[in-house]
Amino acid sequence: MPDLLSILLVAIFLPLFPMSMVFNAVLENMKPNLRVLLFILWPLIGVLIALNSEFVIPRWLLPLALSTSLLYAIRLLTLREVNQWTGFLATSTWSLLWLPVIEGNSAELLYGFATGMSVPLVLLVLLAAGLERRFGAAYTGLYGGLARTIPRYAGVLVTVVIAAVATPLFPTFFFMLDMVVETISTTPSAALVLLFIWLFWSWAGARLIQGLIVGRASHNKIADMSIASISFYSIVLIVLMLGGIYLAGAIL
């Protein structure tokens, strides 16, 4: 019984459907400035509990983790609110952390993966807050044309979305590559599902980018991102990329 309770607890923090709905409900009702904290701490708590519990994780959790990730990746395709989009992407990526947990990867790597996956999502939450301040909502297809209206902001937004949807050389890319390598021999079907999840992330990312940056410039004058903010985002993204390469060196 305690084993089951521990698994249920981990399933909330490394989301497994239907417990995954807890995270998205919390996110929806949370104040914008606390969301950053939520995105950083949530998966780390999951990894911490998983590593410190003594339960044996049953193999049937692997298909459940993959199904959760696939479900949220598909649902991501039609989301238009950026915070909600980030929450669903987080659910889809964090649920895959069950794979290295089941495979028994080292604690350092698990924390590294969890952090590497969460940092682009945190940046996206910050950018969504910036859009809400400027336009009243962070919503795709509502105003569009950010590339012409606030080009610096659009540039950073595009790069962060690219990082979030597992594009080289960011950590999530190497995580996905490693997972495919680890599953291909033992469970080839899992490797195929992983690739489809990856495809849906790219698809959703492209839809998000198109819904925000494409279109004519706004007639209203809207403040673009400051140089200081650009420097902050650039440094974080460069560190993230270097972290990705470091993780790649450790796992591949």
Partner: protein, 559 residues
């Protein structure tokens, strides 16, 4: 040597970084930096190519202490030079062409990044670098095609390209994962030497690993080189800037041919994969050419023409003529790049003069009235069929006496013969003051083209695959048993000859064609004009998926 090859790949990256950082300060003159860096990189790659031609040893250069390795070999140096040559022309063209566009600096950043990604792809000596660069080419192309951020249409079709490219990434990633699990290394050199030493050492799901990997590599190449069913992105991506179209059609789309060449040691140990590659290439060549002929939009026609050419290139790989595919990609790249870059001039010219000839060709093609006067038909038929055959046989015998021992060579010869005959036939159909002079000139140009083609492709063969035994293995991997081969040759000959016969009879007795057959042709034309409904099916599938996604969100209350 090590520093030279690293510099070739890194210079465009440095240029991209500088432009990104200093575009605001230097304005539009920053493009000169991009041109200068590309020129320097091109010159260095030319030097590397010269070293490779002079017989320098192949090298695998590790990047620091990482698993990343860069290759110095004939294939990588040749393709790096071709990529940089085309990229340099596109850079020079873009300096003025893009001057009025917003995001001028960003365009050169993307162009430099694309050049770097392509270079890393061709010089990658390990699977990770190959997968990363292969992946990044698709992502960067998406943004290059969407350079005009006001255009929803440009992004819509850029999205199609991105998704097809992502689908093409799958098989390459799977192949890389399988090879790593089998050989416990990412190094291509080590993997290939182990495959050559013991090709049957590993199995996947009861199948030989070499077969599975070859099939996956083939699939990855199909998506990148717009093979049938994965082609829909290519003819529609014309809303991007013209230099991007030129780069795409002249360089990026050829990546499939490169990938198959890179994995040649795996393909020679795969049993039937090359036959499937040949069939897919053949279908693509036929469908691409057919769709090209029925387009009324010249840019879409060019897109389908590229699809047809890619079909030929993949087909060449399927018959074991790997080096010929590389020559084809080079020749087609130069040809198609020129066409795209001169498109603006042609449009200007067309504004002054529509250029539509009011002669028999016009009445035949547009008004559908057959030409009446003809020179002796039988004589022309003999010239049409025999002259190209004699030229081709003669040219091939000059380079290699045992040429006709290879099935692949005979297939190539066959296609050369059909193409040559078609050229003379088309010339004969044109109205001219002196038809014999026109036919004579066509034969002369055919002779020059065939001789040039045979000698250059022979040189490519010697340079890329100097080991005669390896070359022979490539051809024999593509062979089928003699009886099936002979039967196929006879069937295809009959189809082509009956096609010519039909053309003749429709010219002679076209006006008597029955109503039923007219309706059949009309239905066929309708099918082609809808491009075989392939795009429609894909659009329907993606709409269904999006509807399902939205329904799931509603059912689960957006949580």
């Amino acid at each position: 040597m090590e520093r030279l090859i690293i510099a070739v790949a890194v210079l465009p990256l440095i240029s991209a970084l500088f432009i990104q950082l200093f575009a605001g300060r230097f304005g539009r003159s920053i493009a000169r930096l991009s041109v200068a860096m590309t020129t320097l990189s091109f010159l260095l790659s030319g030097l590397l190519l010269a070293l490779a031609i002079s017989g320098s040893e192949n090298l695998a250069i590790p990047l620091g202490s990482s698993a990343a390795v860069l290759l110095f070999d004939p294939l990588s140096t040749l393709l790096a030079t071709i990529i940089l040559g085309i990229s340099l022309i596109v850079h020079l063209y873009s300096v003025r062409y893009m001057a009025e566009e917003a995001g001028y600096g960003q365009f050169f950043v993307l162009l430099d990044m694309m050049t770097a990604a392509l270079l890393f792809m061709v010089i990658a000596g390990d699977l990770i670098t190959l997968v990363i660069s292969w992946y990044l080419v698709g992502v960067i192309l998406y943004f290059l095609l969407g350079q005009d951020t006001r255009s929803q249409t440009a992004y819509r079709f850029a999205f199609w390209t991105l998704i097809t490219y992502r689908l093409g990434d799958f098989p390459l990633i799977l192949a890389a994962a399988l090879l790593f699990n089998a050989y416990d290394t990412w190094s291509l050199t080590i993997i290939f030497s182990e495959v050559m030493a013991n090709p049957d050492a590993h199995q996947v799901l009861g199948l030989p690993l070499t077969d599975v990997v070859a099939a996956l590599i083939g699939l990855a190449a199909f998506a990148r080189s717009a093979q049938f069913l994965l082609h829909t992105w290519l003819p529609y991506t014309m809303d991007g800037p013209t230099p991007v179209s030129a780069l795409m059609h002249a360089g990026i789309v050829n990546a499939g041919g490169f990938l198959i060449n890179r994995f040649a040691p795996v393909f020679i140990h795969s049993s039937e994969v090359l036959h499937w590659i040949f069939i897919v290439g053949l279908i693509t060549a036929i469908f691409g050419s057919l769709l090209m002929l029925t387009q009324n939009d010249i840019k879409k026609a060019l897109g389908y023409s590229t699809m047809g050419q890619m079909g030929f290139m993949i087909m060449e790989c399927g018959i074991g003529a790997f080096s010929l595919a590389i020559y084809h990609m080079f020749a087609h790249g130069v040809f198609k790049g020129t066409m795209f870059l001169s498109a603006g001039g042609v449009i200007n010219q067309a504004r002054e003069d529509d250029g539509i000839p009011k002669d028999e060709l016009y009445t035949f093609a547009v008004e559908k009235r057959p030409n009446k006067a003809r020179y002796p038909w039988l004589l022309m038929a003999v010239v049409t069929l025999l002259v190209p055959l004699v030229i081709l046989v003669f040219a091939h015998l000059l380079v290699s006496e045992d040429y006709f021992q290879k099935q692949g060579a005979i297939v190539l010869l066959f296609f050369g013969w059909v193409t040559g005959a078609q050229l003379i036939f088309a010339t004969y159909k044109m109205r001219s003051q002196n038809v014999w002079r026109l036919v004579g000139l066509s034969i002369l140009s055919l002779l020059i083209v065939v001789l040039g083609y045979v000698f250059i492709s022979h040189a490519f063969d010697q340079f890329l695959y100097p080991d005669a035994a390896f070359q022979a293995q490539l051809y024999s991997a593509a062979n089928i048993d003699s009886l099936s081969f002979d039967v196929l040759v006879v069937i295809v000959t009959l189809i082509i000859v009956s096609g010519w016969g039909m053309t003749y009879f429709s010219e002679q007795y076209g006006h008597r064609r029955a109503q039923k057959s007219k309706r059949l042709w009309l239905n066929f034309y309708a099918l082609i004009s809808r491009e075989f409904y392939v795009s429609d099916v894909y659009s329907r599938l993606s709409r269904t998926l999006l509807r399902m996604s939205a329904r799931l969100n509603v059912w689960l209350r957006w949580l």
